[in-house]
Structures are given as C-alpha cells and as structure tokens.
Amino acid sequence: VLFSNPQTAVRKSRVVITGAGVVTALGLDWNDNVEGFRAGRSAFQQVTLFDVSRQRVQHAAEVRLPSKLPSTFLSQRHCSRLDRAARILLHAAESAWRQSEWQPSKYLPVVLGTTSGGMSMGEAYFRQATARPNLHRQQAARVVYYQCQRQGLDIAEAFGSGGPVVIIANACASGANAIGHGWNLLRLGRAERVLAGGYDALSQLVFSGFDSLQALSPGQCRPFDSSRDGLALGEGAAVFALETLDCARHRKAKILGEIVGYGSTTDAHHLTQPQPEGEAAFAAMTAACQRAGLEPEQIDYLNAHGTGTPLNDAAEASAINRWAGQQVAGIKVSSTKGSIGHLLGGAGAVEAAVCLMALQGQWLPPTLVVRTPDPLVKFSLVTRPVSGRVEYALSNSFGFGGANASLAFRRWS
C-alpha cells in the first residue's frame, strides 16, 4: 500500500542511477548532449512551432523531433495521438529504460515533473471550441491527451509496467522535485525502482506568458552577466532509471551515479520574484548537502538555476555566497540555460543529467556569453568548457511560486 499506519522503522537505502535519457535542442541522444554541453554549443533559433510574429521575442531552443518514435509497447495508433511534449518525454524515457536493461514490471512508480503537460493539445481544443463550437472532431482526444497524467500513464504503458503515476507541478523546480521524490520513495523502501524525470515542450500560451512578463531576453540569455536582461525558453526532457543500490547490485547493473541528497523549500516572498537574499534557495541547498553529509567545499560542480533574469541570478548568487561561506571562491558554478534555454518543468531533470555528464566525464560545462560577471558572483563562474575532478555535484532549480529544489549527486567509481 502507499501508506500504512503504524509503520515499522525504515532502514534508509542508497539510491543509484542505472539509466538516463535526455532530449534537448542539442540532440535526442545522450552523446549529442554531452558533445554539445562540453563544446559550449548554443541551440537557439527562430520559433517555428507557433506564430511569434507579434511577440516581443521570437527565438527559443526547439528540439528537432523526428516523426518516428522509439519502439515501445505503445501501439502506432496510440503514438499518433501523442502531442509534442509526450513525444519528447517518450524519447528520453526510452533511452533511460534501454540503458537500465529493466524488464516490464507490475510495480514501477513513475514520477514526472512538468509545468504544462500537453498544453499544445489544450490550445488546439480552445481554438476549435471558440472558432467552431459545433465541430467536435478530435476534441475528446485533445481533452484526454492534454492532461499530464495521461503522459505519465503512457510512459508506464510504453514499457509494459504498472504502478502509481505521480505528476509534480512545482513550476520550474518540477523536474528536480520529481527526481527528489523518486529518491525519497526508494530511500524509504516504498519501491525498489522508480522512473523519474521532467519534461516540457514549448507552447504558445507559456511563451506568450513569459513574453508578457518581459522575462525573455530580446538578445542572448546571459546568466550571471552584469548586463543580463532575461531568460530564453527551450524544451526538452530527461528521465532517469533510479533504483536502490541493493537492487542494482543484485542484478549486476551498470551504475551511472548516485543521488545522495535532496532539499526542497518554498520561497513565500512573491509569486514570480525570489526573495532578494535567496533565503529559501539557501535552505534548499543546505538541506540537500546536509542529507548527503557534505560540506559546500566538497561540491566540485554546481549547476545553477541561472535563468539570466536580473532577479533570479542575483538572489541565487547571494544564496550560493552564503551557503559556501569562506569557501565560495573555490566553488565552480555554471548555468547551462545559455545553451539550451530554460526548460521549465524539464529544467531540473535535464540539469541533473548535465551533472551526471560532468561526474562521468570529469568536465564542467560552461555558462555561455558572460562578458562581465555580476559583482555578486563571488564563486568561480565557469565560462569555458574545462576538464576537472568532479566527485560531487549539486543542481539547483527554482520556480514560480517560490518552489525551490536542490539535488546532490556522487560520481560512481
């Protein structure tokens, strides 16, 4: 059962990653993304998915999505109904599944983070419902496939598995929260394996929303630069096959890395603006490191939320400075949003994948287009791709509504 009361004491399990899939504008494949991040490549282009001609900003990092989906248990008919977000998610999940070498299971919790699920289906429904109220064609399917839980169920069905599907919608921290929740389920003995990750596709409503807030950079997204002027949107997904260390060892699985800490807090300051000193961000980073038994100086790489907006980066820099204390100058930090944009519900998961890449490859991805770092940057901002020893990595994700999450990872050797 999901919960029973009273319970016996739980022996906390270690949680490892045995499969990972990532889809961004840099590519559909893990290696394409490794190559892109390592080279410091940028993937922005003119938006082609919907009309942006009347928007203030017109670029984003679109995924080049092939028409063919990976082979799974989903029928062709079912696949033909999937929207863009579900297709991006399926590509990432299939890579993770394949790499994990898992077999279909009756109990495999799926935990996903998203901000808008199948929003493009919802938009299509609205357009038809208002423009042609008496035309019902495809409307029922749009209602079904718009909903986030349908995308979660599709992932379970794609791999012939069952079990709970949990969708966490904590704005831009959703992906990190989903991985953190999966980590908690495993560590508390609620499951032996969990498929966890985050995803979001570009949609007209969300693009218009960020544009209306004037949160989008009309030029280039420049996280932590003193003249930064906004974020850039992207789309993508990352999915991880997580399992207990005992389970992975028992089946002699190849282990890619370990999740060692998770912290999640809420910034009650404002719906869209972080508390200027980054109090809740500091608390999330501290909680993740405390759970991992790590001191800040042990973190070899920090993938910052680093959106490129004036307010986020200032608050995050303050939080990092305070968290690292006297060790701050030695903390290596970068934001990869300058390469692939802000993936919203997918951001936390994809940036967790970037941390895993850094741990596996012993290199640090750069923050692109930094001309003059913000004076608040007391840490070592990585602006060029570099090699280096990475034993532990931390990933920050902060979102609207003050949803904050930090994840700590350890290299597997």
């Binding site: 009361n5 319970q7 429904y125 609205f126 839980q149 169920l153 929303g209 807030l213 009650a268 609207f400």
Partner: protein, 363 residues
C-alpha cells in the same frame, strides 16, 4: 510508534464555506441546485454547481497575495485555514514546520483560458498579471505566503485519486520527520471550457468547484509549551481520527481496466460492518459509476455519496469525500470510515480512517 492523526478538516463547496455547510448539505441528502453557465458560441448554457459568494467576505481574502488570485486559490486557502485552525499560529511563528500538498486536476483554468484568449487576440496586450496565476502551483504558493512558511510544498496534478496519493505522501513526510505536520488540499474551479470538455465524456455529469483540506499531524507532536492549553487529566482518554492506510494506486492501463483497478483497490480495504462508513465517489451519473458500484457491491456498512449532492468537483471532490468521512468519525457516528476514489482517467485509490482512543499517561 508514531500514528498519523487528522487534526483538522476544512471544506469550501457548492454548499457554502466551511465544514458546517458541507455537513448540512450531506445530511439533507439532496442534490444541490445547478447554475447556468454561458458557453460562448452556443445558445444552450452549461450546468455547473458553483461556490456561493461569502457574506460577509472572509477576512483572509484581504491578504495582499490574494488581490489578483483566482477563485481556486480562494477556495484552497479557505479550506486550508479552516483545517489548520489554531495551529496556523505555530506555522507562522516557525514552531511548526508545515508541509503543503496541493492537488488539482484542472487547476487554474479560468485564468489560463483568459490569458490564452488575450494572447491569441493581441499578444503584446496579454496581461502579465494573469499569467503567473495560471501556474498549477500558484494557489499553494499563496497559501505558503499567507502562513509565512518556507517548508516543502508539492503541487500534484492528476485525477481525483491524486488527493489520496497526496495524503500518503504527506503522512510519510510527517512520519519521517521531513515536516512536523502536513496540510493536504484538493481544489478546483469551474469554467465553461472545463465543463464543455467534461460533457464530451458524460452528459449527465455536473461539474462543481471548491476545495477540501485535511490536516495531518503525528500523534506525538508536542505543542510549544507557551501555547499549550491545560494538560489532559492523567488516566483519562481522548479520541482521535487516524489515517490507517492508503491503498496502492491502481492505474488504468491497457491491461488493467477501470473496473479491474476498482476491484483491486477494494480488495486492499477491509470488509464492512454495520458500524462502518464507506464514502464513495459515485454521483448517480450512469456508466461513470459502474466500476465503483460493482467493486463495492459486497459492502454491508453505511454508504455516503457526496458527489451525488455536490457534483463532480474532481480533486476537490475527493477531498470532500475524505472530509466527510473524517467528520463522521469525529462525531463518533462510526468507528471506521473508508474512502473510495475511482478516478476519471488515471487511478483507483482508497483510504481508511479510524477513530481511536488515546489514554493519557500519568505525569
């Protein structure tokens, strides 16, 4: 061994604001009146059950964070504050770490529809004040701000069964010491777009809106000494409602139909006796009810169908089911209450609450 107690419940429903309104409506056992909602482009209006306007206006609605917020936030905060009761002051003064789990299926649909409408008409004129309120976790964020808490908060999206999943997560957080207590809220708001969408699947279904909240706290949490009331007399006992269990989520998949999932959920809950209550998610809506009715045909205890009176409130409705079950235990009408949720399109989940006696130890 810790137990997870229900320390408070709250409800905002088409019956009105507060548990008393929900209780009275359920006691009457009659379906509440529906209201017409205009559907642009069609002459025939849609039928919904909406939350009546409060009179006088609830004091919390004057909070600056709620100035531009949508109805779903008002409902969620109303139910949450009622469930939290006096413990809200412990949250605000930092002596109680409160986790928040907010469950929705449709979420902030009114502002989403309005914002998209504005974006299509003229994107540069689309309101930046509305867009942030369209985000699923906006209501949870407002609640955390009102309570001035920075503790963990999840917004879960799914069919009505997700509220029970939220209860399980919240109970786990409290048991593991992640938080001292957890507030689980389910809320929805009506809109023509949502009602139009649901009518495609069942024309007899009437959508409704509101919120329900369940406040969970381990039996052992100590009220800060300065705020504690008189000590219980040693040797006496008091009664509490505990969350005994939440079943597995039985997902609706190609190889597990809604009917099968409902039966599997039912098999994880005890057989009924005369002193027990079953709170169903059925709503006298024809085929939508069939799987749940079949799964519970062997139940010999009492039954209650809140949705038959209140309408299909999605996440709010499963919260009302739980609130009604807990309320009946608080009033000592039953010793055990089960909640059955066979959701619209995702899962079948059940929960079990019990009334237990706690003996106060000698000092």
């Amino acid at each position: 061994m810790k137990s997870i107690c229900v320390r408070g419940i709250g409800a905002v429903s088409p019956a009105g604001w507060g548990m008393h309104a929900l209780r009275d409506a359920l006691a009457k056992g009659q379906a509440l009146h529906t209201k017409d909602m205009a559907r642009p482009g069609r002459s025939q209006p849609l039928k919904v059950r909406s939350v009546p306007v409060t009179s006088p206006r609830a004091a919390f609605l004057a909070h600056p964070r709620l100035r531009r917020s949508s109805p779903i936030t008002h409902f969620a905060v109303g139910a949450a504050l009622e469930a939290l009761g006096d413990d809200a002051r412990f949250v605000t003064d930092g002596s109680l770490r409160l986790g928040v789990i907010f469950c929705v299926m449709a979420g902030c649909v009114t502002y989403s529809r309005r914002f998209y409408e504005e974006s299509l008409r003229e994107p540069v004129m689309a309101s930046p004040l509305i867009f942030p309120e369209t985000v699923f976790n906006a209501p949870a964020s407002h609640l955390s701000a009102i309570l001035q808490t920075n503790t963990i908060s999840y917004t879960l999206v799914g069919d009505p069964g997700m509220f029970l999943v939220g209860l399980a997560i919240g109970a786990d957080w409290a048991l593991q010491g992640e938080v001292d207590a957890c507030l689980v809220i389910g809320a929805e708001e009506t809109d023509w777009l949502l009602s139009d969408a649901y009518r495609r699947f069942n024309r007899s279904l009437v959508l409704s809106e509101g919120a329900g909240a369940v406040y969970l706290r381990p039996m052992t949490w100590n009220v800060p000494a300065a705020a504690a009331g008189p000590l219980a007399t040693p040797g006496t006992s008091s009664r509490s409602v505990v969350l005994e269990a939440v079943t597995d989520c039985h997902s609706f998949l190609a190889d597990c139909s809604r009917a099968q999932a409902a039966k599997m959920m039912r098999s994880q809950l005890p057989e009924g006796t005369a002193g027990q209550l079953l709170v169903l998610g059925t709503q006298k809506a024809g085929r939508s009810d069939a799987a749940e009715i079949e799964a519970w045909k062997d139940w010999s205890g009492a039954r209650l169908e809140p949705k038959a009176m209140l309408g299909e409130g999605l996440a709010a409705a499963s919260a009302w089911q739980c609130a009604a079950a807990i309320d009946s235990l608080n009033q000592e009408r039953y010793s055990k209450a089960l909640v059955s949720v066979v959701g619209c399109n995702q899962q079948a989940v059940g929960a079990q609450f019990s009334l237990v006696s706690t003996l106060h130890s000698p000092l």
